[in-house]
């Protein structure tokens, strides 16, 4: 038995490091100004796919990501961990998309890749924390969805069994294939890069990236080796309706972005001396906050 699995992964700005000029005037993020990382729960998703491949050797794992040209890193990072290949959806005309317009484009790319048994993605991305693109992609493709997956227990002919991690417990469900599964952060962490794969694929490049390599010999070597070419998908490759993509295809608009301004309260500042703490506890007891 073997499966064809599409893993949806996203490169995200490391939201812990946002600085002042990282926002554009229209309210969208200037991703170029932020360090970019592999979305953590997408790594959990990749691991679930790799575990199926461990068991069924002929399984094929295809990474699908969407973003600016540098998001090709996600595909390399995945191939270093034994994914088979990847597609980068990249086109300025897709920019400014909300989750609805994003899931529309992803579903079109999935249809183009075609012939899959399973789609796996992280539950949510740390830049938005919305958890919407998974279910919305499933809806667009008319697939059943299983969200909050912690473990793919088994996968067989036309069926998958999954343990879900919910707020107040766990659920084991069985779902028909093809299906879309979103993986929760409590699932197994992803394995590290494999050094042999890293050496083999470190020069894997997209067409856009090749334009920037001035070293003719290296450039030609990459072009000549099919496995070092990462395929890009633009609007011209996908059968998209123009009014459903990008900013125009996004029903949500950002009305205003406000920087967080700390509103000062009249706080009493005290030290950590015994007398300070003693007085504080006395006050809390006498005003019936405690006890």
């Amino acid at each position: 038995m073997a499966f064809r699995i599409i893993v949806l992964a996203k490169q995200v700005p490391d939201t812990r490091n946002i600085c002042g000029d990282a926002m554009k005037s229209d309210g969208t993020v200037n991703r170029a100004a932020l360090p970019a990382i592999y979305n953590p729960e997408d790594l959990n998703a990749l691991e679930q796919a790799l575990m199926i491949k461990d068991k069924y050797k002929d399984t094929e794992i295809i990474i699908l990501t969407m973003g600016p040209p540098r998001a090709a890193d996600i595909i390399r990072e995945s191939i270093y961990r034994d994914a088979d290949k990847g597609y980068l959806i990249t086109d300025k005309r897709f920019a400014g998309a909300d989750t609805l317009a994003t899931s529309y484009v992803i579903s079109k790319a999935v249809e183009k890749i075609g012939n899959y048994d399973l789609i796996i993605s992280g539950r949510q991305a740390i830049d938005g924390d919305t958890a919407q693109v998974g279910p919305q992609t499933a809806e667009k493709l008319n697939l059943p969805q299983v969200t909050y997956a912690e473990e793919i227990i088994s996968v067989g002919k036309g069926k998958i069994r999954i343990k879900r991690r919910l707020e107040r417990g766990v659920e084991v469900v069985e779902c028909t294939l093809p299906a879309l599964v979103t993986v929760h952060g409590s699932a197994s962490p992803c394995r590290p890069k494999n050094s042999k794969l890293f050496m083999k694929y470190k020069h894997a490049k997209t067409f856009t990236e090749l334009q920037t390599i001035d070293d003719d010999y290296l450039n030609q070597t990459i072009r000549n080796k099919a496995y070092l070419n990462i395929e890009e998908l633009t609007l011209d490759d996908l059968d998209c309706e123009f009014e459903k993509i990008g900013l125009a295809g996004s029903p949500t608009k950002v009305k205003i972005i406000e920087n967080v301004i700390l509103q000062g309260k009249d706080s009493k500042v005290i030290g950590d001396k015994d007398i300070d703490i003693k007085n504080l506890m006395h006050e809390l007891i006498t005003n019936h906050t405690l006890g």
Binding site: P144, E171, G271, L280, H282, T289
Partner: protein
């Protein structure tokens, strides 16, 4: 006529708090918009379910009762909810940001091709001017949420598409006083006409739903720890203080991510929203997502070595010091003086 619709999450015959909180919020928004509130109850054995919902002021309750509709699975619930929304054409749809709501709402928004904002911390009615088209809109729903690591607060609108959908976490909105005499109109929705065999692609094999071990939202005193606590062991000091003064232990996302405390204790935008009488923030710097989950506390005490920590700006009392020496003193002087 374009009302506000709230999806009611029901487990074990009980309508969840988040749904009732959303009905309370919807009633307020509806008064402003001069429309009504509709609640949707989908499940099994729903006899008298309206008794739990009516008191919060839903004008209409749509009930769809079928043994195949419990426990929740995505496709049957979305098929019925979508059917009701297409028929009723509400202008606003509110869903709890639970593992059920966050599974259901995006699927619905995708099929209705409407906008959805997750984890809103506030909902307000207002106007919008689109600078690109020059069009003006009245009575839109402002969907307000922190974004990008809490450095900003975004106000989102859906000017051109209806319904305007939002999810909200439990505890963010306030459940208002119930009126036992309020009568809702009931509309029965027949599921068998809507459901199809393919809607049952997912079967539940096992289900262990545990009662909540930690009940932060119902606690009057919370001792909460952040990354500054330093370790899981460091949290034992917080448990001790909570035990002595009669409270529960909470944590910031940073502390949960670091493995110091379990997720059920997380306070903030992606955790629980709390409004205790007293909130003691120990070693918490106070990112906006955390503050969004606790700034409604009646009294806030912050313990931080950094006098400039953002949490101090909303604290009633800011103790500048190391929690490892301050907490033992608090325990000692509480015991001494509470007798």
């Amino acid at each position: 006529m374009n009302n506000i619709c709230v999806y009611c999450e029901i487990d074990g015959g009980i309508v969840s708090d988040v749904s009732l909180e959303l009905i309370s919020k919807a009633v307020k928004l509806a008064a402003e918009l001069k429309c009504e509130v509709e609640a949707v109850a989908i499940g099994s054995d729903l006899k008298n379910i309206e008794d739990q919902i009516s008191p919060y002021g839903a004008h209409i309750i749509h009930i769809s009762d079928d043994k195949r509709l419990y426990p929740y699975t995505t496709l049957p619930h979305s098929a019925i909810f979508e059917h009701i929304l297409k028929e009723q054409k509400p202008q606003i749809v509110l869903v709890g940001a639970t593992s059920v709501g966050r599974d259901l709402a995006p699927r619905i928004a995708s099929s209705l091709r409407c906008g959805l904002t997750a984890d809103c911390t506030d909902l307000v009615i207002g106007e919008y001017f689109d600078p690109k088209t020059g069009k003006e809109y009245k009575n839109l729903l402002y969907q307000i949420r922190p974004a990008f690591g809490g450095n900003i607060i975004a106000t989102i609108v859906n000017p051109e598409t209806k319904p305007q959908m939002a999810t909200v976490r439990e505890g963010v909105m306030k459940k208002e006083g119930a009126d036992k005499n309020f009568k809702s109109r009931i509309n029965t929705v027949n599921p068998s006409k809507i459901l199809d065999k393919v809607d049952f692609a997912v079967k539940i094999i096992e289900r262990h739903i545990e009662a909540r071990k930690v009940n932060l939202s119902g606690t009057q005193v919370i001792v909460s720890g952040g990354f500054g606590v330093g370790s899981k062991e460091g949290f034992s000091l917080l448990y001790e203080l909570a035990r002595v003064i009669g409270g529960e232990v909470g944590a910031s996302r940073a502390a949960v991510d670091a493995g110091f405390a379990e997720h059920a204790r997380q306070v903030g935008q992606t955790g629980v929203t709390v409004r205790p009488k007293l909130y003691i923030a120990c070693g918490i710097s106070g990112a906006i997502q955390h503050r969004a989950g606790m700034d409604g506390s009646a009294q806030i005490i912050s313990i931080n070595t950094d006098p400039e920590a953002p949490i101090n700006s909303i604290a009633d009392v800011a103790i500048t010091g190391d929690l490892h020496s301050v907490i033992p003193k608090m325990i000692k002087y509480y015991k001494e003086q509470s007798k």
